[in-house]
Symmetry: C2
Subunit: 448 residues, 2 copies
């Protein structure tokens, strides 16, 4: 059988990794796929770049500075889009689909924002858009969610899905350093980009979470409804207090289906979709995922808890996912579309319209740090406010103030409540004359 013909758009880190893995492991890959997979063409953003790529891939594979030439090339069966960003990626992917080509992409931003349009176009043309590489790099989490856990009603997913921020948090905790210092170190080591905004502000994690949420719950991708909060304002002090209380702080992407059960005291039903720094018990396996590694915990009704761990970025880990998709697509390229796994895990007519909950309706526990005047009655006033809002307290830690010091830190862990309720209570507490600084609010999850 003639090898399947692949066109690579982009030969940066992941593109070059994909090219190399396809070359190096071609025997194993053909042995598994039952058919060779050949790179037939490479596209760059301009002629100059195309020339540089030509030196990498050798004379046998034409490189073009016009990506249109690749997506319109009738000899190409599968287009692999590895340039990232929204445009021109979106136009090229839609063009490839319109030309009846299958698409493999690692572009989480594109799918989180334009997935509905792209999957709809693919369905109409009867082609596959595969995207294992878009979430958690080499970890086969899309496959686990779409195929491995099909028996289950998925309850929630919580993931460390951004390596840059996990590296920074690991270093902050391990070395007791503050955010700005560690960020510089991460940039020097290549773990953070020169403009790190998308990573440190949680946007990258939210793109990936949006995709996982869609395939877990059978809802459309809805990045605009996600609550996105990064780690740039996280203080070393809070990492230390969390540790004293038996918790680690991780940037988690969390998506959870809240049903109409007693688990929602405020009665809101829908899907939580949120990225924020989170306290989790230090004994949880995921709390011990260090450095730039990724891990995703999935809670589902039949299987219980499963966890998937690995490298979430880098040339070859991401290439591993791209090539796995190429093998899947190769296997089913000529099959009846009914035999394929649906893009968003559920058949189009089985999709759900369960809404994404506004943040005020999200249920979680909280960590609060208040800088308070060291005088009688302070704790009483604060706990009264919490009680008035029906928020129950799990633990309190008050730092012993030093000789002559007029203020101290008061840490409160609460049980689950709604974010809206907590914000009302916080506004009142913040108004107390004995509360001397802005209150730090972090969310806490038991993940059990």
């Amino acid at each position: 059988m003639k090898p399947i013909q692949v066109g690579l758009i982009g030969l940066g880190t992941v593109g070059a990794g994909t090219f190399n893995v396809l070359q190096r492991n071609q025997t194993e890959i053909r042995g598994r796929a039952g058919r060779g997979i050949e790179v037939a063409m490479v596209a760059a953003r301009n002629a100059e770049r195309a020339k540089a790529y030509q030196a990498i891939v050798g004379d046998g594979v034409p490189c073009t500075g016009e990506a249109q030439e690749l997506v319109n090339n009738p000899a190409i069966d599968i287009v692999v889009e590895l340039i990232g960003g929204i445009e021109p990626a979106r136009t090229l992917v839609l063009q490839a689909i319109a030309n009846g080509k299958h698409v493999v992409t690692a572009n989480k931003a594109l799918l989180a924002l334009h997935g509905t349009e792209i999957f709809e176009a693919a369905r109409e043309k009867g082609v596959v858009v595969a995207f294992e590489a878009a979430v958690a790099g080499g970890i086969p989490i899309i496959k686990a969610l779409r195929e491995g856990l099909t028996a289950n009603r998925i309850e929630w997913i919580a993931g460390i899905i951004n390596g840059t921020t996990n590296f920074i948090l690991s270093e902050m905790r391990g070395k007791g350093l503050d955010f700005a210092t560690v960020l510089k170190e991460a940039q020097r080591l290549g773990y953070a980009e020169s403009d790190p905004t998308f990573d440190i502000e949680g946007v990258d994690a939210a793109h990936k979470l949006t995709i996982m949420s869609a395939i877990a719950f059978g809802v459309p991708v809805q990045f605009d409804k996600a609550h996105v909060e990064g780690i740039s304002s996280l203080q070393a002090t809070d990492i230390k207090y969390a540790e004293q209380l038996g918790y680690r702080i991780k940037l988690l992407g969390i998506t959870r289906r809240r049903a109409s059960s007693g688990s929602t005291p405020d009665g809101a039903q829908g899907i939580e979709l949120r990225v924020h720094p989170t306290l989790i018990p230090a004994t949880r396996l995921i709390a011990n995922v260090e450095g730039a590694m990724n891990a995703v915990v999935v809670q589902a009704d039949a299987v219980g808890t499963t966890l998937y761990y690995g490298k979430g970025a880098g040339a070859e880990p991401t290439a591993s996912a791209v090539v796995a998709d190429l093998v899947d697509v190769t296997r089913l390229a000529t099959a009846d579309p009914d035999h394929r796994v649906p893009h968003l895990a559920f058949q189009p007519d089985a999709m759900s319209d369960t809404p994404v909950l506004p943040m005020a309706d999200v249920q979680t526990a909280f960590y609060l740090r208040l800088v308070v005047a060291d005088q009688a009655g302070v704790l009483s006033r604060i706990t009264t406010i919490l009680a008035e809002h029906d928020i129950s307290i799990d633990a309190v830690l008050q730092r012993e103030s030093a000789e002559g010091e007029r203020q101290t830190d008061l840490i409160i862990l609460t049980h689950d409540t709604s974010e809206g309720r907590m914000n009302e209570a916080l506004a009142k507490m913040q108004g107390l004359p004995t509360v001397l600084a802005p209150i730090v609010k972090l969310r806490k999850e038991e993940l059990a």
Copy 2:
């Protein structure tokens, strides 16, 4: 489309779990599979049992005491074999295949011993034999290895794949108890069977490892070549010494491909296939997998290290894997066999004849505990023997002997060497008059 018709052989723990999950989550499952999955018939080992099953499944689903009736029923598309053991499971599975039916099984013993015969029969008839539930319960590890990591040359797999022994080891370490005491507790709690031999002697783990090894390296299942060693002779003392040295002891199933590189000082090329108690660094994620949980670490050339964690047994976790297979088979039931994932991950013509290495050629590091006379020159004689066998020492720990005590414990950690070489050195050491008791030998892996 007419729902696919399933026949369940066996309605014990996993069978009942499968029936329940198919009922409870039928909407989600149909939404993903694109077609309903219905239990059309249930078979028990005799008429009396069939009657008991009838009460569970209700009047709509016929229960028979003759499994032959089920495998010969032309209305059934997929036979699910959940009775375990070799016979009559083997005969029924082969009969189902001969009748052109797809098979889903959780039977690791059957596949580890008779997989070659069964997969060959399935290939000839163009049917699928799916077996996600045979390894690590609900963790989708077969899918990860066969489909998620197709880009990779897999280097090694190390797994905690038996919950009973991991529970026992966790309790031994946590409570400082000895094996016999914890085994009784495990039996009382239902974590160990009344005849626990298959679990505690490593046989169950070796069945699962044999299957993973085959799909990782594209070799036939070769259970008879596996080295199988359990935990029944493991002493609490060694768990304690390991801990002092920064290690945990886990029962690991390890399979590794030794290439012709410098990594094999003794030059042996082939596949290691072994189950034994193993010291691993306490900081590794897998070292922190406690209780009856399972985890599998896969090292592969492109993706690096990935880990998969979850419940390895139990009604619904195992049912989760059975139903995932049912969905996969349903999707591809009517597809060209070329479109399916090959049973052993590689196409039949791409299978490898790499041999399984005899244990003497296996490379690993060692933990040795010697009870020695507390006198001058003892350590020197022992280290000389190791040096003569080219075995280099990584660490030594000698217990301080109490006042008046004539003997002490000497712990030695070695660097990698071959098992054969180590055994020769051990025989010499054991012959020393200053070595007062049988030497304890455990293997140690860095898993990095």
